[in-house]
Symmetry: C3
Subunit: 152 residues, 3 copies
């Protein structure tokens, strides 16, 4: 199955590419390496405001992280000029989870993104990763994820 | 206008290269990729102590981030043996903003660095980026920024 | 002295490679660059739970960071198929220190990892670095460190 077919089977349609919230660009390619800016979680097109351990459950955080992965794929798709088969490898994610000082399930929240990427890209979707709790995120968003990918 | 002329037009003179605060080096080059260590904000040569949302305004944070960008350019300049025209692209910034749990303008603080880099390097200065709030920074500094750059 | 001999001289035996706590892999290689996932500090095989500034001293944090460096070397060793002489350079560490809002010695904590890497790998062990305080870490761990390395 092609990446496009997998997305269809999962009933995922890629949204419009996110626009930068400030003075930066959504991705930069150097050689075959693509650096994708941190994408914040959104709900109905607006920042998904919340903090794990305060007003969101781990399951809601997973859902938010899965949504970020979809937005990251839309950006990847733009960087590949609409041909996601040019993604050779999802190399690394850094996952920033807006959380209180006593929330310790950042890895489970981040699985929402990691599992979807592995589902869509197969072995090429398996990535290195760091996940941790941050004091707060831009616009109050609950999760922000950045990505490094290898393109062919 | 050359990079040097742009810096002069902006009335910016690059400071001496920052020295590591601990057991690391300021940058490592691998292939054409330069990894620059996190640089903390300084004022009058000392760590610029403060926390956004507690005792600093967003505008002061912007100013601190702009100062970090100047220090990062000094390090870039050293890595390029004094020839900043060898910077092919500012690839990525990661911006760590020392902030309380209710401050949500990390992206505006970080613009202080991003806008200066775009001003000095033009299109080559437009970069991918993540910005977020951290619990605290080394020596109490208000902002820390690390960089990835592509050299020719 | 070879890397193996240096490890022996330091009385360090590399542990079994850490297994991912969630849906990711411990490292991904792209070209000659190796991205190593964030490794959390462990004690007696379990997450080393604690927070700097609350219930751990800087010296204990150093010890934890040193332990993470040993685990990172075990992962590096696996990526090099047991031949650590193939590590051309430790390029970068990102060190996430679980800390309160008033702890400011993340750089000293992180030295526990940085100094060991320089000791084992010599000049090839000198790396770029960022260190900062995070709100909390997966499983309550006190320190998490990720690495970028160049392999030959």
């Amino acid at each position: 199955m092609s990446i496009t077919q997998k997305l269809q089977a999962l009933n995922i349609s890629l949204p419009a590419v996110a626009t930068p919230a400030a003075a930066y660009v959504m991705y930069v390619r150097t050689g075959n390496t693509l650096y994708v800016s941190g994408h914040i979680a959104k709900k109905d097109g607006k920042p998904w405001v919340g903090q794990l351990g305060r007003d969101m459950t781990t399951e809601q955080g997973r859902e938010a992280a899965r949504g970020v992965a979809i937005d990251l794929m839309a950006t990847l798709n733009a960087a590949c000029e609409g041909d996601l088969s040019r993604v050779k490898r999802i190399v690394k994610l850094v996952s920033l989870v807006n959380s209180t000082a006593d929330f310790t399930e950042h890895h489970l929240v981040t699985n929402g993104a990691s599992e979807l990427l592995a589902e869509v890209f197969g072995d090429a979707g398996k990535h290195a990763r760091s996940a941790f709790g941050v004091a707060q995120l831009p616009l109050g968003s609950c999760v922000e994820i950045e990505m490094v990918a290898e393109l062919s």
